[in-house]
Amino acid sequence: MHCPTLKFANAMKTMLLPHRYRAIGWWILIPTALLGVVLYFNGFDGLPDFLLPSDQTSRWHQTLTSETAIRLYNNVALIGILVGTLMVACSRERVEDELTTALRLDALLLALYLNTGLVILAALWIYDFDFINVMCYNLFTLPVLFLLLFRWKIRRLRKEARNEE
């Protein structure tokens, strides 16, 4: 039967990752997010001193504090957060049906609106290098917002249906 809604829903389903990728996504997201927080508090200038070998003359210390290593930490954090977030948000539910597809689309649209609003507010209120910092964080705010909104919608749906038989 020709049904545009169903065709769209099926197309969306085929673009989703299998359900098992959600756990993999969390395993990637949580450590890389923690790494990102650590790097943030160190000004994205590599690992803080308490995570480095105490002997600053050692080869290991020099390797871990090199320019290449600092870039690697930042990339691992950024790419890990992006990949982990997408894996968690874009993996199928155990039962993937048209309602979850609709909720996923709503969450994506709302995340887009919120992210755009945040960028506009930042453009109005924040300037110079601070604005560049905001734009750097903006690299992953859209997928993170999408993940948070989608999981919130799913949780609310389950809560509403909980008391029914």
Partner: protein, 66 residues
């Protein structure tokens, strides 16, 4: 849009989970359709109606607002 899914389920003593399994969706989706929070696709509406051996118009009807 209003529907009589809950009434039809009660008549045949079917749970939401059983109906969900029969039409291939989650129980939460059946609940959302019953409470009017979600409008099912044509295919899903037809599947639900077929479960109760009735026509779509006997299960679903338009509101004045629709």
């Amino acid at each position: 849009m209003k529907n009589r899914i809950r009434v039809e389920r009660a008549e045949v003593r079917m749970t939401q989970q059983q109906l969900a399994d029969a039409v291939g969706v989650s129980r939460q989706t059946i609940h959302a359709v019953e409470t009017g929070r979600f409008v099912p696709s044509t295919v899903l509406a037809l599947k639900i109606a077929r479960c109760f051996a009735k026509s779509v118009e006997e299960i679903f009807r338009l509101d004045d607002e629709d």
